[in-house]
Structures are given as structure tokens and as C-alpha cells.
């Protein structure tokens, strides 16, 4: 019974493929590449996380040891804290600045296209190049441009990337600067889909600027705001390049992030199994955030 069902299924499939083979040929290259280099490695990592994985020698099954280690290694909790700190600063910072800029750009103004392009320039600029540029902006001593500028206001020069307290906020400032443009475009698209009649009706009802924002713009923009929130959170939890280029995780490990930690585990210490376990915990956290977001704030509108 079961086999004949399978057989019939296979038959139907083969007929489908025969009549519709172009459809399958069109999707095949994408599926093969995504399968080999995205889905397979992601599953493979799950297996690796239970092994003391060796690239050349014999890998040894160690059960949950890698996951246990996660809670014992001193630097892990630091990496988690730093990443959460980074996320807590970067997500609201980028979101609100981007929303503010999008609101300004949504007004009837001249040269809107030019402003959009200008705000988008940091987005397309190479991560490494702009990280290097900001490292130079943060140059310690009064000869650094930022210290020079705050000197005008009478603030003494800071060792931006060398001070354990300032290093992470300094990195966040760079990533907010770099991240605004893309989110402005998403917000703008959302703002432009709000029907103008709603604002007219609100104005007739005597709503002021703030009331119109609070009761028309903000609620109608919610789905877009949630996408931005989700995408920003997911990318913030994986921040790597600015840390690598600007601080190398220092000073005193205060900018050591999870992604940088995983990189070090795998490629400097050869601890592939442990790296896989840490990355799966990160995966679980991101999945958790996505699920919570879906359950409590409704579906993501793609």
C-alpha cells in the first residue's frame, strides 16, 4: 500500500518533470548552490557541535560537552554581554535616526533624490574602508579630528578606541552612521504607502503635528518598523568587521563580540566543534527573537 503510493507519487513527479522540465531547470542552479553552501553547512554545523572536530585527524564525539563549555569559558559571557550591549545601543539608535530622516525626506522638499543618495553613500561603502576611516577619526590625542572638534567645545581629548568604556559606543556610532541610509529607504517606502486622506481627516479633526504622528503615522508604520527592528537586531547580533578592524576585540576584551569570538575559536584556536556549538546558540537566539516577534507583533510583511 505504502510503496504503491510512493510509486504513484514518483510516477506523477516524473511526468511533472517531463512536462515542466524548464521550470525545474530555471530553479535548479539556485537550489543546488543554496543547498550545498547554505543548508548543508548549517545542518553540518549542528553535527559538528557534538564533536571535538578535527580537520585532519579523527573527530571525537563528545556529546554536550561543547555546550557545557559555553557556560564555563570566562570570555563567552563577556562576548554575550558585549554583543547585547552593542545591540541595545545600535538598534534603537539606527532605528530612530533613520525614522526621523525618513520623516524629513517624506515632506514636500526639493532635491529629495540627492539627499537619499547622500544618506546612502555610507551604506554602500566598504565596511573595512569606513572602519579604517573611523579609526582615523577617533585617533587619540588632540591631533585626532574628533578630539580636535570636541576641543573647540572645551572637552578634553579622549582615547576613544583605547578606553574600555568608550570603545564600544565609538563602534556603535560608526555602525549607526553606516546603517541609517538603508533603513531610511525602507521607512520612506512605508511612509509613502500611507494614504494622504488619513492626514486630511486628522487635520480636520484638529490633530496637531504630534497627534498626527502619534495616531496616524506611527500605528500605520508598525509593520515596517517591525521589519527594520528585526533585521537590525539580527545583524547587530553578528557584528564582526568593525570590531576586527578598529579594536581587534580590545581594549581588555570590552569589544569582543560573539561573531568575533566564534571566528577566533575556529580559525585561531582550531576549536571547530566548540565554534559550531556557540554559533548554534546564536542561531537559537535569533530564531527565538524571530518567533517572538511573529507571535506578539504579527506576521512579517515581506
Amino acid at each position: 500500500m505504502h510503496s504503491s503510493y510512493l510509486h504513484r507519487g514518483a510516477h506523477a513527479l516524473s511526468r511533472e518533470v517531463r512536462y515542466n522540465y524548464w521550470s525545474y531547470l530555471f530553479v535548479l542552479p539556485a537550489l543546488v548552490i543554496l543547498g550545498m553552501f547554505l543548508v548543508y553547512p548549517a545542518l553540518y554545523a549542528f553535527r559538528m557541535s557534538f564533536y571535538d572536530w578535527q580537520v585532519l585527524g579523527e573527530s571525537k564525539f563528545v556529546g554536550l560537552e561543547n555546550y557545557q563549555r559555553f557556560f564555563e569559558m570566562p570570555n563567552v559571557s563577556l562576548a554575550v554581554q558585549n554583543t547585547l550591549y552593542y545591540t541595545a545601543l545600535n538598534v534603537p539608535g539606527t532605528l530612530f535616526v533613520a525614522l526621523f530622516v525618513a520623516l524629513l525626506l517624506n515632506a514636500e522638499i526639493r532635491a529629495r533624490a540627492w539627499f537619499r543618495v547622500l544618506f546612502y553613500l555610507p551604506v554602500i561603502s566598504s565596511d573595512v574602508a569606513v572602519s579604517l576611516l573611523w579609526k582615523w577619526i577617533y585617533w587619540a590625542g588632540e591631533r585626532g579630528i574628533l578630539n580636535n572638534l570636541i576641543g573647540i567645545l572645551g572637552i578634553p581629548p579622549q582615547d576613544w578606541l583605547g578606553d574600555p568604556k568608550l570603545a564600544m559606543p565609538a563602534i556603535v556610532l560608526l555602525t549607526i552612521w553606516k546603517g541609517i541610509g538603508g533603513n531610511v529607504l525602507i521607512f520612506l517606502a512605508g511612509l509613502q504607502s500611507i494614504p494622504p486622506e488619513l492626514y486630511e481627516a486628522a487635520t480636520i479633526d484638529g490633530a496637531g503635528l504630534w497627534a498626527r504622528f502619534r495616531h496616524v503615522t506611527w500605528p500605520l508604520l508598525r509593520p515596517v518598523t517591525l521589519i527594520v527592528l528585526l533585521l537590525l537586531t539580527i545583524s547587530s547580533l553578528q557584528v564582526f568587521t568593525p570590531v576586527f578592524v578598529m579594536t581587534g576585540g580590545g581594549p581588555a576584551n570590552q569589544t569582543l563580540t560573539i561573531a568575533f569570538y566564534i571566528y577566533n575559536l575556529a580559525f585561531n584556536n582550531g576549536l571547530y566543534g566548540f565554534a559550531a556549538a556557540v554559533s548554534y546558540l546564536l542561531f537559537a537566539a535569533i530564531l527565538g527573537i524571530t518567533v517572538i516577534q511573529r507571535r506578539y507583533f504579527g506576521d512579517v510583511v515581506y
Binding site: 525545474y24 522638499i109 579604517l132 573611523w134 591631533r143 541609517i180
Partner: protein, 290 residues
């Protein structure tokens, strides 16, 4: 804060002028802040070494020198890294636009068994964080013997679900009558994709092209992991790894470093400005379903 939440042209009595003044003030200062770091980069790149750290700070270098660019080009082996990066980015872009537009066409216009299931599975992979791939993908690339080869940076990263999604969304707005008419006229499946779909989906293709090119050009983590030999490095790897060396050796090679950064960023800005007209409309369709 909410000044602009209201389209100003609808507010008949209120003084438009004041509101506009406020908006332009904010926008111009924002634009200034967005551009200020680039200005500093360009300014530094044209300074002679003695002036890079000189006080008081000079925004317009005097004399203006090209020697930093020459130095970056020679000492950095810049030409080689530039060609490596250009080769990788161009190949990724061509492959990405081709493969994603084919898949996007099939998902948007054709009916076949398993289409929606496959598409939803693809969307589900968007939750896989890149960090998860670090260790296992490296081992896959190692197994293929692609370490230290451009193919190890090109093939695994030439398809993205987001780009397939952008193509699908755009292609589904093309009227189906067009490809049906072509079919009745005897066009082949490949012919329909090539002669009907591709010419009509230019904004989406430009968007995917920009994302792919910029993504490949900007890539750092994977070229860093895969390309071990100095001759195989991309611009970003060279810039990222050599900077600590140079800072340690010379204290302040910032003129040369900023010249290098200008050379890395310039092609990206060129590609973006060329395609941005298409890009903005393509992105809007991909980003939010109106």
C-alpha cells in the same frame, strides 16, 4: 520630531516657510554629518606626510599631493588586489543576476509541483545567521579544494535568497498576457525569459546587480578565511590586515591608508551612482509590499 509627518503642501494656512526652513536645516545638517567622514578621508588622502598630523588641522591640503595614491598603488600591491576584487565582484554579479532572475521567473510565473513549498523553505533559510556558517562552510570549501582560490569566494556566495525574492516580486508585476502571447507565437521557455522577462525587469536586475557587486566588493570575513596567500587577497583583506602592520611600523601612515580607502570606495560609489535610478525603484518593490 514629527514636523514632516504631515505633507506640508496640505497645510494651507500655516506658514510653510518656517516649517520648510526647519526641515531643510535638519536635512542639511544630517547630510553634512553623513558626508563629513568622507571629506576627512579625501582631505587626508591628499596631504603630505608632515601635514597629516599637523596642528592646527587643515581641511584643504597645501600642497595637494598625489603621492599617497602612488604609494598605495606600489607598496600595497594595489593593482593586483584591485584586479582580484574586480574579477570576483564582476563574476559574482553576472552569476547572481542570471541565476536569481531565472529562479525569480520560475517562482513568479510558472506553475510546477512543489513551487510554493520550495519557495517557503527558501524564505525560512533567511533566519540562518552567517556566523553559523563560519566553521562548516570553511570545511566544505576545504573539501572542494577551493581554499586559496577565487572560486571558493565566488560560487558559495553568488546566490542569495533575498535577491531571488526581489526578482520574484518584480517579475510577478509583469502582466502574464505578455509571456502567454509570446508562447502562442512559438517562443521557447528560454526565449521568453531572455526576450520578454529580462528586458522588462531591468530595475530589479539593477537592484540585484548593485547588491551583489557591493556585497562581493565589501566582503571581508570570507575572503579573509578562504584566501590565504598574499597574491590572492582582495582589497578589503589587504587593507584590513596591512593596516596594523603599517601603524606599528610607521606610527601614522594615514595618508596612504586613506588613499587606499578612497580607491576601495570609489568604484562602489561609481556603480551605485550609475545604477541608482533603477536601484531605488527596484528596492522599494523588494522592501515593502505596497
Amino acid at each position: 520630531m514629527s514636523k514632516s509627518a504631515v505633507p506640508f503642501y496640505r497645510r494651507r494656512q500655516f506658514s510653510n516657510a518656517v516649517g520648510k526652513l526647519i526641515i531643510y536645516t535638519f536635512l542639511l545638517s544630517g547630510a553634512f554629518l553623513a558626508f563629513f567622514p568622507f571629506a576627512w578621508m579625501i582631505s587626508t588622502a591628499f596631504k603630505i606626510p608632515e601635514q597629516v598630523l599637523a596642528l592646527p588641522i587643515r581641511w584643504i591640503p597645501d600642497p595637494i599631493t598625489w603621492s599617497n595614491f602612488a604609494a598605495a598603488w606600489r607598496r600595497f600591491d594595489f593593482a593586483r588586489y584591485f584586479l582580484n576584487t574586480m574579477f570576483i565582484s564582476t563574476t559574482v554579479t553576472v552569476l547572481s543576476v542570471t541565476i536569481c532572475s531565472m529562479a525569480g521567473y520560475a517562482f513568479a510565473k510558472r506553475r510546477f509541483w512543489g513551487r510554493d513549498t520550495i519557495f517557503n523553505l527558501l524564505l525560512a533559510t533567511l533566519t540562518i545567521p552567517g556566523a553559523v556558517l563560519m566553521a562548516p562552510l570553511f570545511l566544505v570549501i576545504l573539501k572542494f579544494g577551493w581554499i586559496n582560490q577565487f572560486i571558493g569566494i565566488i560560487v558559495p556566495f553568488c546566490v542569495s535568497v533575498a535577491n531571488i525574492f526581489i526578482m520574484r516580486q518584480y517579475i510577478s508585476t509583469i502582466p502574464t498576457e505578455l509571456d502567454e502571447a509570446a508562447r502562442i507565437d512559438g517562443a521557447s521557455d528560454l526565449g521568453i525569459w531572455w526576450h520578454i522577462i529580462l528586458p522588462l525587469s531591468k530595475p530589479a536586475m539593477a537592484t540585484v546587480a548593485i547588491f551583489s557587486f557591493v556585497g562581493a566588493w565589501d566582503g571581508f570575513l570570507w575572503p579573509l578565511i578562504v584566501l590565504k596567500d598574499k597574491e590572492m587577497w582582495t582589497l578589503n583583506v589587504a587593507l584590513g590586515l596591512l593596516q596594523t602592520e603599517y601603524i606599528a611600523a610607521e606610527g601614522s601612515p594615514w595618508g596612504v591608508m586613506m588613499a587606499g580607502s578612497v580607491l576601495v570606495v570609489l568604484p562602489l560609489i561609481g556603480v551605485f551612482l550609475t545604477l541608482q535610478r533603477y536601484f531605488m525603484s527596484g528596492l522599494t518593490i523588494g522592501a515593502v509590499k505596497g
